[in-house]
Amino acid sequence: MPKKYAIHTKNANPRFPPVGKYATVEFREDCAGCCSACVKKKCVYGIFKENFLHWSSMQEPEYLYICKGCYRCVQDCTKGIFSMSINPEYRALGDEYWDPDIISSTWAQAHTGRIPVSGAGYRGPFVGQGFDSIWTDMSEIVRPTRDGIHGREYINTTVELSRRPTRLKFNQDMSLAMDLPPILEVPLPVLFQKPEFGVLGEGVLLSVLKAAAAMGSLMFLKPEDYSPAVAQYRESIVPCLTAQDYSEHADMIRNSRMVELAYGPSIEREYSRLRSIKPGLAIAVGMPLDAATADRALALAQTDVDTIHLYGSSHGREVDSNAPRYMKDMIRQVHLKLLQGRVRDKINLVFSGGMAMAEHMAKSLICGADAVAVDVILLVALECRLCYRCKENKPCPVKLEEVPPEWGAQRILNLVSSWRNQLIEVMGAFGIREARRVRGETGRSLWFEDLEKENFGPLFGIRKVAGIG
């Protein structure tokens, strides 16, 4: 039996105290003194011990990042002396898309490599916008495999980034009468790319590249970001070039498994020249995710391109639009266009922009992506608080410029491992054992808009748009 793919995790402690969510408030005067049965001793996260230690050193103690808000102490205390408080600093983290819960759970995943614990409490409406209006159909969860999805049962998360022939030709003797394109696979539908902003020193880039090399993934990188240290990971780099400058980077191309060209008119003319530099090279074309993307993708799919990389905004939306659509709608549009053109199986689609949670990856696949590329979340894994001070040239509160590559790579590996485990959970519950089969599998999802139309449309006619959010 082939060895199972695994990402090795180990604790990577935060360098700075993370901004925690909950604080416990305690009315000690009312304590019944039942010390042997005290709920403080039962806390599985040991927050009261930490609490005391922080207090005794006169630090700001109470906003303990390790408290998961299970409310055990609040509920089990015989005298009810505990209550919870939310850190106002926590509420101010990030922005409307990169909300505090995403940031905090990413920190926890990057720290431990485990699936985050969401804890108790009201988490807002059951439905939201964008990816939050899709629910995955977990009906197969009632029939789990006997061997367990993390045990002997093998769920394959590998995806391809190389093109596929739509038909095979055989000779009379049944031997293949054509050359098959080489196969480029990544073990997880997650690729990396450099974020648009942030303190992006060499330490950060090396962390991402080390992680990419360790897990067998790829990182999209521009030639100006190359340095001797970065170049050691050339096999994990997809150089992002243009039709004008690729001839200057022949060495880079020879050492890479895949190259990305920026979209331009008649870009297909460059493929043969690129493949003359390195035979069998996989070629991706990068383009913004805008209103014309679907038509451009259909035209490109007729050519010998392997992958189309579509760049959305960092907030998971269409770019260059006054009313930007959500990533899920854009993925769906491009995917369906290629299906109608009967070329969907030929090429691969990688979407990037605003991929913030493991569920975004799974839902992107359901909508029709082959893989996703992540960027901002990599910074968050390295403790970024998304305070955007770097955009104003102010110092970074967590000193991202000093990230040690070993530590940073481990944080990213932990995060990706947690995402993979979540993908496996979802696929197990779908009853699907191949990540490639999840692509466009909308039958395994429930869409709020459709359900609302189906159930309430006959009663209320055209639905109210203001309802959700």
Binding site: A23, T24, V25, E26, F27, R28, E29, W55, S56, M58, Q59, E60, P61, E62, Y63, S83, S85, N87, P88
Partner: protein, 142 residues
């Protein structure tokens, strides 16, 4: 105001910069950086509620070298946890007596009720404490 405090400080001993530990409820004082302009050496300990002002930590602050300790809590009736500020006031009152008994002078320990967002009131509280401490001199227990 800042000038009068500075005068008081210089009157007691030249070069004496009072060290004040401030325990504050986050609902009462949202941004502790407003205290920086008081001219004192301020150490801030942020708390989720005034109830977290424990006796032992008030004393530990004095023991660790603070010339004064200030607790800033919400006004009565405005505590998110209903009684946090009232209990904090009782604890501070108890500790004031204790500090008096051991000869450190209870004026080194104060509690002020600050309405949410009233940064000026917080600044006034610190300056008042600083002027009291200026007359008392450095903490002999430090």
């Amino acid at each position: 105001m800042a000038l009068s405090v500075a005068k008081a400080i210089s009157a007691k001993g030249k070069g004496f910069k009072p060290r004040i530990t401030v325990f504050h409820c986050v609902s009462a004082l949202t941004d502790a950086s407003v205290l920086d302009s008081s001219g004192c050496d301020i150490q801030v300990v942020k708390m989720p509620c005034g109830i977290a002002t424990r006796e032992v930590f008030l004393l530990r602050a004095l023991e660790s070298g603070a010339d004064a300790v200030v607790a800033l809590v919400c006004p009565e009736g405005q505590c998110r946890h209903l009684q946090g500020n009232i209990r904090a006031a009782k604890r501070v009152a108890r500790m004031k007596k204790l500090v008096d008994e051991i000869g450190l002078d209870g004026r080194r320990l104060n509690l002020f009720n600050i309405s949410r967002g009233d940064a000026q009131a917080a600044e006034r509280a610190i300056k008042q404490t600083a002027s009291d401490v200026a007359s008392l001199g450095p903490n002999p227990a430090a």
